[in-house]
Symmetry: C2
Subunit: 424 residues, 2 copies
Amino acid sequence: MYQQRLECLSRQELEGLQLKRLRCVLAHIKEKNPTYHQRLGSPEPEDIGSLKDIQQFPFLTKDDLREAYPFGLACGHKDEFVRFHMSSGTTGTPVINPFTRTDVEQWSEIMARCLSAAGLTHRDILQITPGFGLFNGGFGFHYGAERIGCFVIPIGPGRTLMQLKFMKDFGTTALAGISSYPLRIIEVAREEGFDFRQTKLRVGIFGAEVWSDEMRTFIEKEMGIETFDIIGMTETGGVGLGIDCQDHSGIHVWEDHYLVEIIDPETGEVVPNGTEGEMVVTTLTREGLPLIRYRTRDITRVLSRSRCACGRTHLRIARIKGRTDDMLKVKGVNFYPRQIEEILMRHPEILPNYLITIGKVAGKDQVEVSVESSRLDESLKQRLEEEIYNFLGFHVEVKLLNRGELPRGPGKAVRVRFLEKTSG
Amino acid sequence: MYQQRLECLSRQELEGLQLKRLRCVLAHIKEKNPTYHQRLGSPEPEDIGSLKDIQQFPFLTKDDLREAYPFGLACGHKDEFVRFHMSSGTTGTPVINPFTRTDVEQWSEIMARCLSAAGLTHRDILQITPGFGLFNGGFGFHYGAERIGCFVIPIGPGRTLMQLKFMKDFGTTALAGISSYPLRIIEVAREEGFDFRQTKLRVGIFGAEVWSDEMRTFIEKEMGIETFDIIGMTETGGVGLGIDCQDHSGIHVWEDHYLVEIIDPETGEVVPNGTEGEMVVTTLTREGLPLIRYRTRDITRVLSRSRCACGRTHLRIARIKGRTDDMLKVKGVNFYPRQIEEILMRHPEILPNYLITIGKVAGKDQVEVSVESSRLDESLKQRLEEEIYNFLGFHVEVKLLNRGELPRGPGKAVRVRFLEKTSG
Ligand SMILES: [Zn+2]
Ligand SMILES: [Zn+2]
């Protein structure tokens, strides 16, 4: 463990620390940004008597952060900021998260904990494939690696042939990436006759996209590695909010730095322990952009607040099921792309490339799932359609494609497409 | 100044320090890499009595470094390395420079000196446009900025419209980039009606490519900024080997970290003070890949070893005239692309985009210079051909093109093209 004592605090110590830090973050907002303080109802830090008192504050949404571009909710003067990272939002105004020196230290600390939780030490050789720069991924792993002292290959995204070459030439033991990238690496390795068993690769740390347990099993089997699911986003201060440990019994969220609530996304009410809902995050130690009740849009549930087999006490949540804004609504049924992925990937013939197309035919919603498969036969197609029907309650057309037929793009994988009109 | 005392050591102190450190680096090589030590003739560090004794060692070339891929000349075990950077070589085996923790500190220190020499403080807002990752540029500026505490916009290369937007939205005061990138920014600014005078931009720090004084004047005038010429390469440990100060009377090379010799590229002999030749660099403080007499291929000369008006005592060299491997030989005449650039850019009508094409017509070398211009007339064309004739002694066909006619690529600018056969 990177910080044994802090990672193993008793629940009582942890919640005491959270309360103390919640007051600090409110005092910081009060001092640095009067508008933000007013937005919260001008609370006096000492009036916060318990963690539950946080429920008096309004939620903060991604749109609120966008509207604050560039520094509307920032706490501090530009002089105090050392850099910023930015959400990789597809369109419109980006979210800017300015970092103070302390924020960089905080980030390094939680990322060092994450890498250690995945079993990395200074002896490891970590190939960092997320991008460096405005996107937070590359730098997050970089800072964590700097703390634990492992040897970093700062290769960034793309150039998959070079990724494979370096894996061999430098004896890479751990790979960090967005969760669809190992799929591309596996594909190129197959084309090149590259054998992961002849490398020293043993750990994969992936995140930034929702990936099913079935996808995870596929990656672990193909690469012969143990994978870790890392969470975090630009808004919370970057990758590193939490990760699953070697016990793989849920994702530990670093509770001395973050306060987690799970709410009903419709009503905004906090749901009972163990109930699924939207994760809401309050940052307890961030200076540049402290968040009070930020709606992450991630759907999960609390698995446990007790000590894990690994010794860590920080709460464990379920792997992210989907994002509220990824939720699909067809014929009155709500579902997440990950749930379709689970059904597909249970079949060993199915390859990890699929596309869900939602379009209207004669005014009615139609769903089609195109998926690559190593076997194209009618019985597999019917089987998949049947399983999806059992899950959704309506018919979905499945199209089996040969390996390589679906387009591959750089960056995050596109899993859903909306057509205004379908031609058939 | 970032380190007043070290940057202003007397010549005697400086050379005493260099001798002491030269012995240290030889001892380090002896301890960590017997093959490398043998290559040098198995010297005993204490046998080095003066700086001139370095002339007993063989030169190290880029090809030597390539052949050593990945760690043949590295000094230390992978456990001691924290990352590596790589030469952006166009083809073939790359040069790998592994960094120890101490090397990262050394790099941060010299980059902090460079940024301070360019007048930057913690109040500045630095937009970093070189790439992050294997290329050393982005990280070099990043580490230097971290030391002096300025606010960094880690945007990386490309997305020129966003570069302009950020310059305005964040109040960028300093821009770092490879030296052809400001040309692209100026071009897009012109298309967008963007006025640099309405920004807070005051400093540009550019390097990695040879750029003439005329090009520099063009950039300074168009952007309304003061520019600084920064040198350094992957092999020497990245950008930051030296920079010109606000006196602009030559590029200071940090002599407590680097020992510079200027040699005749043909004979390998050290040339007299002030004579033009190839710069040879010995690293005095690098651990991962210490260089003894590395041939940089950069053509320059020593301008002064006396105290500069800025107070710094570290030697000053002329701005790089060209690289030995960029040298063109046509009809028995040797010249550098920069020299053609100088002739072209003296004319205010000429735009900073040109391409020198060298091809054979009926077995004879022919040179053609295509250049964009705001005025396309025969008299300007003839004038340019005359001036180039006066310089080279043979006729060169000049083609004037409209703005935007030459192709723009990402990365370093392509200034020379070789054609096997021309169609006439
Ligand atoms: Zn655990
Ligand atoms: Zn000076």
